[in-house]
């Protein structure tokens, strides 16, 4: 087992190097550099600036310099955010995205499973239609509609929560509901199907025939089987949630990873972009 893990880890090294190389050259191909601004500085100063970051060398020399540092674990300084190391920026933003992702996952699983199971117990009744209609609505409503709606209701009209920011525990509620709500809708549909399938199995009929209470049938016998499709879904959902959602972070002004990813590319902040791509690739 240890050998297997070790081998897999070794295999990731060349993959990461290839990814870093590709990202580096893609960024170099994009027109415009990190120091192009609407207000041009004097050509002399621009030259000094490029000399400082080694941008006056050939692309291959720049690539060589970058890779040598990278192998030593140094992602370099951000071009845009002078004075910040790329590792420092990621170390600051990732815990935020991770925290939001965890809450959102909790929301998605709890609400999703409860709704799905309730719906599965009495198919084609009101307790099925209501949660499933909500789920359809949840899938149809993208986060950029859901977020502002929640803010309008709970932030502005009722004044229970702050409309944006990341200061207090209460600031986690609305973003977690927005991000989690979307996946809760998916989860509920899958949980419903899973539960209905299990409930139609022979061993459930046997359990009922033996006189087990409905409560016991569901939680003791059906539950384990019913959550299996949900568990399968959880892995990709978790991955996409903890890596930060640009839209949710933007709506709620959350200092997470998503915002960096988009702005770094726009700023042609090469070191930050490669750093982020490698970080995502490693996970």
């Amino acid at each position: 087992m240890l050998r297997f893990i070790f081998r897999r880890l070794l295999q990731t090294i060349p993959v990461l190097l290839i990814i870093a190389t590709m990202t580096f050259f893609l960024m170099k191909l994009a027109p415009g550099g990190p120091f192009d601004t609407e207000k041009a500085t004097t050509p002399e100063i621009k030259k000094q600036l490029e000399a400082h970051y080694g941008l006056d060398k050939s692309v291959w020399a720049q690539y060589g310099d970058y890779m040598i540092k990278l192998v030593q674990g140094d992602l370099g300084p951000s071009f845009k955010y002078a004075g910040w190391e790329v590792t420092e920026l990621i170390a600051g933003a990732f815990p935020v995205s991770l925290e939001l992702g965890c809450y959102a996952l909790a929301v998605a699983l709890t609400i999703g499973m409860i709704m799905g199971f309730v719906a599965a117990l009495r198919p084609n009744s009101a307790t099925d239609y209501v949660p499933m209609s909500l789920a359809t609505l949840g899938i149809c409503l993208p986060t950029f509609v859901m977020g502002p709606l929640l803010i309008l209701l709970f932030g502005i009209t009722l004044g229970w929560f702050n409309s944006s920011g990341w200061f207090f525990m209460s600031d986690r509620v609305l973003p977690a509901l927005t991000l989690g709500g979307y996946y809760a809708a998916y989860t509920s549909r899958i949980a419903r199907t899973g539960m209905m399938e299990i409930l139609s199995q022979d061993f459930i009929r046997t359990a009922r025939a033996k006189g087990a209470s409905e409560w016991r049938v569901i939680f003791k016998h059906a539950f384990k089987g019913a959550i299996q499709p949900v568990v399968t879904l959880t892995a990709p959902v978790t991955a996409s949630m903890v890596t930060g959602s640009f839209i949710v972070e933007k709506i709620f002004d959350i200092p997470g990873m998503g915002r960096f990813f988009v702005t770094a590319a726009f700023n042609r902040d090469l070191t930050l972009v490669v750093g982020l791509v490698l970080f995502y690739a490693t996970r």
């Binding site: 994009a30 027109p31 415009g32 550099g33 120091f35 192009d36 601004t37 609407e38 207000k39 041009a40 500085t41 004097t42 050509p43 002399e44 100063i45 000094q48 600036l49 000399a51 400082h52 300084p77 845009k80 955010y81 002078a82 004075g83 910040w84 920026l89 600051g92 933003a93 502002p148 803010i151 309008l152 932030g155 502005i156 009722l158 004044g159 229970w160 929560f161 702050n162 409309s163 944006s164 920011g165 990341w166 933007k250 709506i251 709620f252 002004d253 200092p255 915002r259 960096f260 726009f266 700023n267 042609r268």
Partner: protein
């Protein structure tokens, strides 16, 4: 029974939440101002940054020789309590306050300024705004490496509290330049402590390290979220600073910004979404401010490429645009239609030269150029950076050109850096452009069109224009100088390498409890003159 109990409990919990005290309400009580600064500052080292959001924070942390006037643009005494100007208007002698201190208690001396200017101009630091100091004698030569002895640069500490600055030529807007952060003093011993002084990447601007001489001191910096500054008790005028803290948020989305304002989390938004301006006008006029701003929105023509190498075509394009309709129906933020280039009233200067909105005149010009009713003219391509508001304006102009003079236009949007690259390399016909003055003087708008100027992407060149701008730079007499600018702008408008569209305004929302906040053309508000006061209810 249980169901009823659950409903009652749920209701009790919900009611228990209740409405919370907003940040604005608690801020008003505790003199804590919450403002959105629009984006994350790249850094807080004035020699490394270039942006306006950085300026807003740095203004609170550092103070230059002169300080902002909350009501206008006339520089007020800052770290210097008074100054004298020599007869020939090239030597300024500043007398620093004896009680000016850094936030760590050290006195602010003239030597600090000399050392700071040296750092700003040292080539290895590659300070992008170093050129702001080029009015100083020898500054440009030192920055470009032509001289290496800093003693030859026109700045000298005569003693601890007297600073002499020698300029290349009379510069009437010099005191205005001093309001820019590139002239603010830095505490060099602190910078030395945390890294090389003359290199980038020094980490002295982190909270707990930053030493400044401004009315506030850095308390907290959460990247992409908030910068908090608190009152600096060592500031020379600390007794008159009323705010205890300022929270600078870096909310980028204008919708998030506006919602935060509406839910009572912000005293002031950075701007307002275009769609919301009318709503505020109708429903909350007391919260809406629309203020003139020192900037021009215009189209730039590539004069090296036919058919725009013909000034008659450029003039025809400019004359066929109904600017009133654009500001009224498209931008809707109270912008002024622009029939000249420099914003009106820039340091007492309003251009006399104008061009008209004249469809018949435009048609005549096109006929003269050989394109009657636009016939034979290949489609003109309008380049703009991807943004909804730029597209709306470009579409409107496209329609006006078609309808008014029969010219076909194609729209091309590019991502910001690609657009900058296309503009720089002359790979465009007509491109959107915007210019915000660095300092309130016509020179800030007119010297950019000098032949080969760093921002003159129009490839336009006119020897007479160049001569006039250089002459204005040498003219000490204020009235004469403005007259020279009048002549220069007349040439610019006659040749039209630029098609002015409107003069910017700044629409934003602000709580009535913010006091000491007045419209200023550069949108800089001296934080130490601002305070919070709850409106008394009748």
């Amino acid at each position: 029974m249980t169901r009823a109990l659950v409903i009652v409990l749920a209701f009790a919990v919900l009611c228990g939440c209740g409405r919370r005290e907003t940040r604005v309400a608690s801020g008003n009580r505790e003199q804590i101002l919450h403002v959105n600064n629009g984006t994350e500052p790249a850094n807080l080292d004035p020699h490394v940054v270039t942006g306006v959001p950085e300026h807003h924070v740095i203004m609170s942390l550092l103070e230059g020789l002169v300080s902002e006037d909350p009501r206008g643009i006339t520089p007020q005494p800052g770290t210097a309590e008074r100054w004298e100007l020599s007869e020939d208007q090239t030597v300024y002698t500043f007398h620093l306050r004896k009680n000016a201190r850094w936030s760590n208690g050290d006195p602010v001396t003239a030597h600090d300024f000399v050392r700071t200017f040296r750092r700003a101009l040292t080539p290895s630091l590659a300070s992008e705004y170093a050129y702001m100091l080029f009015v100083m004698k020898g500054a440009e030569e030192f920055n470009t490496g032509k001289i290496t002895d800093f003693d030859q640069v026109g700045v000298k500490a005569l003693d601890d509290h007297t600073l002499r600055v020698t300029l290349n030529s009379p510069t009437p807007y010099f005191l205005g330049l001093l309001l820019h952060y590139s002239w603010f003093p830095l505490h060099l011993p602190t910078i030395e402590k945390y890294g090389p002084v003359y290199e980038r990447g020094n980490r002295w601007t982190k909270p707990g390290r930053f030493v400044g001489n401004g009315p506030f001191a850095l308390e907290q910096w959460k990247v992409n979220h908030v910068i908090v500054v608190k009152r600096n008790t060592n500031y020379w005028d600390a007794a008159n600073v009323k705010l205890n803290k300022i929270y600078f948020y870096s909310i980028e989305s204008t919708d998030t910004d506006e919602r935060a304002f509406r839910s009572g989390q912000l005293h002031k938004t950075h701007e307002l979404p275009q769609m919301k301006i009318d709503t505020y006008r109708e429903k909350y006029p007391h919260l809406l401010r629309i203020e003139p701003f020192l900037g021009t929105y215009f189209y730039i023509c590539n004069t090296a490429k036919p058919p725009l190498n013909d000034k008659r075509v450029r003039r025809a394009l400019a004359m066929a645009i109904d600017r009133e309709a654009i500001v009224k129906n498209v931008t809707r933020g109270g912008q002024l239609p622009a029939f000249h280039f420099t914003p009106p009233g820039t340091a007492g200067y309003t251009a006399r030269a104008r061009f008209p909105y004249d469809i018949e005149g435009a048609k005549k010009l096109l006929t003269e150029a050989g394109y009657p009713n636009g016939k034979g003219l290949p489609p003109v391509e309008i380049l703009f950076n991807t943004l909804e508001s730029h597209r709306a304006i470009a579409e409107t102009i496209q329609e006006m050109w078609k309808k008014n003079v029969g010219i076909d236009a194609r729209l091309l949007n590019q991502e910001w850096k690609v657009y900058l690259d296309s503009k720089k390399t002359g790979n465009y016909q007509v491109a959107r452009y915007g210019w915000i003055g660095d300092y309130p003087d016509p020179n800030s708008f007119l010297d950019m069109w000098l032949t080969g100027g760093g921002n003159n992407d129009s490839n336009w060149s006119n020897p007479e224009y160049d001569r006039l701008i250089r002459e204005a730079g040498r003219t000490a007499d204020l009235a004469k100088r403005l007259e020279v600018f009048q002549q220069a702008e007349a040439i610019l408008l006659d040749e039209m390498p630029v098609i002015p569209i409107y003069f910017y305004t700044r629409p934003y929302a602000i709580q009535p409890s913010v006091k000491g906040w007045y419209p200023t053309i550069l949108d800089n508000h001296p934080w130490h003159k601002v305070w919070l006061e709850e409106e008394k209810e009748n």
